[in-house]
């Protein structure tokens, strides 16, 4: 499925102007901190409204300033794994996982639930509350929560940034499996070349609010 982004947004002193298309299974938005990567995926998710431009996923236009189209975030069906997990602290892990299904009003798919719980190794966490989970456990729950709403695209905003090396090594294999299982395209935001190499096949390089290059993993080598 093709994701086509062409957006402009003024955020304080920073002018974001990003234009790229990707049909890859794993696309990395890569660049230094403050390059505007998170702002771009927030626009894809519908959490930030571009000043001008167009965003399309496959045949569906999600945003088009000229045509006055702006599909609200809750109708985009795009999964989002945030840097800090953002689990709901008042719900158990199991309720967090079911949240997306409740909101979409879809029936329970026990087989899919079991598969994701097994893949992310969440079984022991289900009755617990997020307040007492480790950082790595939280991110695994956040990934599971996003997957269980059955999104058509999964955005990940530096999901490993707040974790130490050991926890990163714990999560990365799950993300690789996710990409290889196919079906669900990933957009992965990171400034870590080693992470990007493991997850992505296509790279969109950003600097100072602009897309400076679109291509393969060879774009990582020249990064600062």
């Amino acid at each position: 499925m093709m994701l086509a982004v062409d957006v402009e947004k003024r955020l304080g002193a920073v002018e974001i102007a990003a234009r790229f298309e990707t049909g890859a299974r794993g696309t990395a938005l890569f660049g230094p901190s403050g390059a505007g990567k998170s702002s771009v995926i927030n626009m894809i998710a519908g959490l930030v409204r571009p000043d001008r431009g167009r965003i399309a996923l496959g045949e569906e236009v999600l945003f088009d300033s000229a045509a006055r189209i702006d599909v609200p975030a809750h109708r985009r069906n795009i999964g989002y794994v945030f840097q800090e997990g953002r689990l709901f602290p008042h719900l158990t892990v199991s309720q967090n996982l079911r949240f997306g299904r409740w909101m979409h009003g879809v029936g329970r798919d026990a087989e899919m639930e079991a598969r994701i719980v097994e893949m992310l190794n969440l079984g022991a966490l289900l009755p617990r509350r997020p307040g007492r989970l480790s950082g790595g456990e939280r991110q695994r729950v956040a990934i599971g929560r996003a997957l269980l709403m059955r999104p058509r695209l999964l955005l990940l905003d530096e999901p490993l940034a707040s974790l130490d090396a050991g926890r990163k090594a714990e999560i990365l294999p799950y993300l690789e499996r996710l990409r290889d299982d196919g079906g669900l395209p990933l957009v992965y935001v990171s400034h870590q070349p080693d992470e990007v190499r493991r997850i992505a096949t296509a790279v969109v390089r950003m600097e100072a609010g602009r897309v400076v290059a679109v291509g393969g993993l060879d774009l990582l080598g020249t990064a600062a």
């Binding site: 989002y80 953002r86 008042h90 409740w102 509350r129 997020p130």
Partner: protein
């Protein structure tokens, strides 16, 4: 000495009923306005904020008088309510509940507003990406997380309603069995010879109810807080 006369029981019963109805009636409006003030920017926001706080800074007698000239039987709002729905507020316990709700409203809104402001909007964004529209986000994320403050505000409102005197007596007078609350009854007993005993009994009851409400709210808020922070 420590047995209540039927008149005193009536005052206690009436006080509790008026305070409870006032709090329950104020709650949905209080939550809505607190949320608006905490989360939205709109024209007239400072005006709304000032209006909500007015009963806190005005002399209660003034608030009572304003209620009388707008909700009295022949007053604009009062006559409309009477002619369309048959509702009479002046000199009725329902009017006392209205006066108490108005007086307690700022306390409710202040506590609830602070609580809504402390809810992380990034959690609301997460709910949106999971398919929750604004109403569902409010019901499943924002309100549960703000609940400790909303409960604290409701108890403050209840306590204020229980102690309300000036606005109530101005708007609905001091009619035994209809609008005479504990506070009004205490005042009446202190004005008549031999009223010291009944006044003292009602004072003790007022203290017991107030402390009971405080303890109950502390317990509820702590429970809601533990839930909200994922420690239970």
């Amino acid at each position: 000495m420590w047995t209540l006369t039927p008149e005193e029981w009536t005052a206690v019963h009436l006080s509790l009923r008026i305070s409870l109805v006032a709090t329950l009636a104020a709650l949905p409006f209080g939550i809505a306005i607190a949320w608006l003030l905490a989360r939205k920017q709109f024209w007239g926001k400072s005006l709304l904020d000032a209006l909500v706080h007015l009963p806190l800074v005005l002399p209660p007698v003034v608030t009572g008088y304003l209620l009388l000239i707008s909700f009295g039987r022949r007053a604009p709002v009062g006559s409309f309510l009477y002619e369309t729905m048959g509702i009479v507020l002046s000199f009725r316990w329902t009017g006392a509940a209205l006066a108490c709700a108005v007086m307690g409203f700022p306390l409710l809104v202040r506590a609830a507003r602070v609580s809504f402001e402390s809810v992380d909007p990034r959690l609301e964004q997460a709910a949106a990406t999971l398919g929750a529209n604004r109403l569902w986000t409010f019901a499943t994320v924002t309100l549960p997380l703000a609940l400790p403050g909303v409960i604290a505000g409701a108890v403050l409102c209840f306590a204020k309603a229980l102690g309300e005197f000036g606005a109530t007596i101005t708007f609905v007078s001091n009619i035994p069995g209809e609008t005479q609350t504990i506070s009004a009854a205490i005042y009446t007993y202190t004005q008549v010879p031999g009223g010291e005993g009944p006044a003292l009994r009602l004072v003790v009851i007022a203290i017991v109810i107030a402390i009971g409400a405080l303890v109950a709210s502390e317990w509820m808020a702590r429970r809601a807080g533990n839930r909200a922070y994922g420690l239970e």
